[in-house]
Symmetry: C3
């Protein structure tokens, strides 16, 4: 343990509600170690989607701070997760990335594990060596409509089953299981992971910074201070929302907001209309892929968004899905992995154009990277002091912060009692 | 606070007078944090010159450890300094460097501050939001004949007014306010900032290391062990000094040494003859700019030097000024910023040649960088032990060290009582 | 002191015999500081060979953590070692590397030391300055048949004389003193130095990872689990070993194993047959240099290996010698320096081809670098737990670990009592 529980508890107590966090939460290595252990070590962490490993033996790795986890599909088509560490002398088994294997063979001394993580073969250890006691260390893994979550703790927290029950009706119609990854991009942001998440939880910064994203996104979908000058627009958006929700519900597509951001396994969802043609996150607001997902025949389904604590967000549209995971690398650097998914039968160049499919979020990601890095620089100054969140546009940032602090406090409580 | 006051006080007590500092003063991160807080946080720090921001809205930033400060000229032509941190969620406002702005607008959510640091505009914060309580955090700023000093403390230390009173008669004739920056160079030295400063405070190393600087500088202007072999030369220099001082005083130019290096706001000055033609820090010792400064008509004014604790030195000549600031970036890296100033009406390529103007100090800076980096490497060895200063050539190094230790001890006293 | 002796003693107690070390031994900066002080600071450390500095004034430096040591040959042809730190203000004297000097002159203020380390000249220090009190800080140095060892402690540990007495009969016939360095390569491995050493102490990893090294090395020279499938091969190797040892002993070449790896000055040696032509570590197993070493006329002398605690190994053949030193740079990076030595009269391109001479170990070094770096990555995971050593192939790894822990514990005992 690289942090002092008592000191961290005191730090939590200094936080003023409705204000950004005190600087050490973004800067301190001790807080970072607590984040890894108490947040990322004890909650359901989104790591990727099933189509990243479609066939038996297909795997991808996730680097989470100093840990490395293998997600691999077994011969029985089940996804499993293991620590990427040999039980002999600790060598990393698979290099970071993705690929396919028959068995997982340690490059150092050829200890050989099968896709269920069992040690199947090794040499020179004597006739009485107990292979059963030296299998890979397993990590809990759950799939929610094709979205893969792991939990590093021995006993996962409550709430996954409830999230699954609530979310499957929203997600299953988009049939992620029959999608393929059309494109994936990794970005390393020179910022604490919480700044990446806070940035995701508001669109106050969108109008001035995201000229591409604000094409499909309605200005009023993410909060706005009402005033004489915009009341008519706000009313028009409310009407649009009501009529679109009615239309979608007739098509058996749930769309109402579910907001459980303060739950241990916290999440939020809502289906919102998109601007213009209203079909997709594209620069012309029309579908990027001609092959619609699932059984959809109407492209005008808006955007179903799904946000999870502490590290993901996803946008499900009629024609494609964009899915984001955030993993902390160290106190000041964070990996943002973005996947664009289309129907598994969609053909690049025919059914979709990769550049058109990815244009909005490729641009938006780079803009967000610059913003959170600049925020991290400013917070590093001794002159930084927490500032007030907007009551109209930063409510979800506040909910992220309060969830984070509550979960940290709970973790510390377990720690010190 | 990242240092232990009691431990640091003990470390101060281990220093042997007349010897280089114990290794932790150059190496330790804890000492570095104390340096930032107690030395750079509580004294007048030289950051630049007025001609770096001649017009309203012109600004430059100074990165001082993790802090970033904006120096900006207001509509009223006054220079002001602010922390470069938004009062909303802490974003850095202006990227490091220089430029000009109408207002200071945060790129994140467009909070907009005017040149006086007041929050003039922001959105979504509600009708009762108090903009007056969310202006930029101001930093004390003073100009001494165009040299800009800031103090990060709430209450600046004593002594600036006295320094100004004593120094203005020396500096004002060179009329820095009517100069322009002909060239500026930033060098990052991989060394603790105190090694950079110690190196500046002696010329024992000059003869073997600075073939360019020793062209205009007299060998005997910075101390020498007397002996049978050099007595005649030393005597000749004393005579030259006396006759030149007499000549300059007739021209109403003060030139006697003022040595207040142990004052809280410590400094030293003296005007010394230069070698050869005696006009400037150039490779032919003649003026580099035909347009002399202020009201000067005679180029042969030697070099007026001005050293301040803890972080600057300046050479004022008849035709140009060279001004150096030192800012610590971390325990082992230091920014040295050098500015060459000429008369604001001097035209490059006609009145002066940039390469000729900067040749001596461009070369000297790179030589000094190599020396202090090598010193830092050696001091990093566990075999390093403080060694004796020369009584003839390193007296000003000793005065830098004793000032530094005394100020640190005072700061710690305030801390622990 | 940057480590906590009580905490480190507790950590030592957690180690399970026969298993790889607990993670902090490979990762922690505190352990690294203890390694530098108690292991590398108090034992005989191999740094190079006499032919690296054949003439008076020839020197090479060794960077060992933050320390830098100069090994230099005097006018009297004796090798001496000094700390590479000026006694004035601590500057590093000689840049890392090798070269030749008349005196050792500090670049900063020209303090001048002769090859015996005495301060011979400096300026400006006054007439009463005591030069005798300001010589370079000496480091113990011993040569064992041309292999150079230093000890940084004031009082070196016991055992060097005994090692010399036992090893000279093995080494002297190869006449290293009349060799020259044909090639030298430095590799920085991104791994803790102990992983580099552990990797050297077993060949369990060889078959799958070293296609070049396993050409000359017999598969059975470094341990093997016996079984029905390989008993015949093991018996054949035993017979070969017996017959070759008999042949070499007739030629007055000692070849039996000496194993003193648990001694304070720990080492091991054995002469083993090589595969194929049996002459050398080459890809065709024949001698790489036509000019045999010493008085040898028969090239088929196998490989005499010499391993020392904590940081070297060497292979002496009839035609050339390969010598390896390992020096820790920081907790996670390590310098491996390899020297290939041939007879001093051998001519490149005529008597030997450099590429052929170095091919096996150039390839092997890069393969080992990849293995130990991957091991270091895996051990960095919180999921790492020490794993079991093979009783057949990793006995010498266990002996390295137990020597290391015993020496650390002894050092801590001296520390806390």
């Amino acid at each position: 343990m690289h942090y002092d529980a008592a000191r961290l508890s005191k730090l939590i107590a200094t936080r003023r509600p409705g204000y950004s966090l005190p600087a050490p939460f973004y800067l301190s290595d001790a807080v970072f170690h607590a984040d890894l252990e108490l947040i990322f070590g004890r909650h359901w962490i989104f790591i990727g989607v099933e189509p990243e490993a479609p066939e038996p033996g297909d795997y991808f790795t996730v680097e989470l701070g100093p840990a490395s986890i293998i997600a691999v599909r077994g011969e029985d088509m089940r996804m499993r997760a293991f620590h990427n560490v040999c039980r002999h002398r600790g060598s990393r088994l698979l290099a970071p990335g993705r690929g396919d294997v028959g068995n997982i063979v340690c490059p150092y001394h050829q200890w050989t594990y099968n896709l269920e993580g069992n040690l199947a073969h090794n040499e020179h250890m004597g006739e009485h060596f107990d292979r059963c006691a030296h299998g890979l260390r397993a990590v809990h893994l759950e799939s929610l409509a094709g979205l893969l979550f792991i939990c590093l703790a021995d006993t996962p927290p409550v709430g996954f089953a409830e999230m699954r029950a609530l979310m499957e009706p929203y997600l299953l119609p988009h049939d992620l299981a029959r999608c393929k990854v059309a494109h994936q991009v990794d970005i390393v942001e020179a910022a604490n992971w919480k700044l990446t998440m806070e940035n995701n939880r508001e669109c106050y910064h969108c109008r001035a910074n995201h000229p591409q994203l604000t094409v499909p996104l309605h200005e009023f979908g993410f909060g706005h201070q009402p005033g004489a000058d915009n009341q008519a627009k706000l009313d028009a958006f409310s009407e649009l929302l009501a009529s679109e929700h009615a239309r979608w519900q007739q098509a058996a597509l749930p769309c109402n907001e579910i907001e459980q951001l303060q739950a241990v396994t916290g999440f939020r969802t809502i289906r919102l209309p998109l601007a213009g043609a209203g079909e997709s996150h594209t620069l012309d607001t029309k579908a990027a892929s001609r092959k619609l997902l699932g059984e959809f025949s109407n492209a005008r389904l808006g955007g179903l968004s799904f946000w999870t604590q502490p590290n993901s967000w996803h946008h499900f549209m009629s024609d494609h899905i964009v899915s984001f995971s955030v993993v902390p690398l160290d106190a000041r650097s964070t990996l943002v992995r973005t996947r664009w998914l289309v129907h598994q039968d969609a053909v690049a160049g025919i059914d979709y154009d990769l550049e058109r499919l990815t244009a909005v979020w490729q641009a938006t990601n780079m803009q967000d990277k610059a913003l959170v890095e600049r925020a991290n620089e400013g917070i590093g100054s001794p002159a930084y002091q927490p500032g007030p969140f907007s009551p109209y546009t930063e409510g979800l940032v506040e909910k992220f912060c309060t969830w984070y602090l509550a979960r940290l406090a709970t973790g510390l409580g377990n720690e010190v009692q």
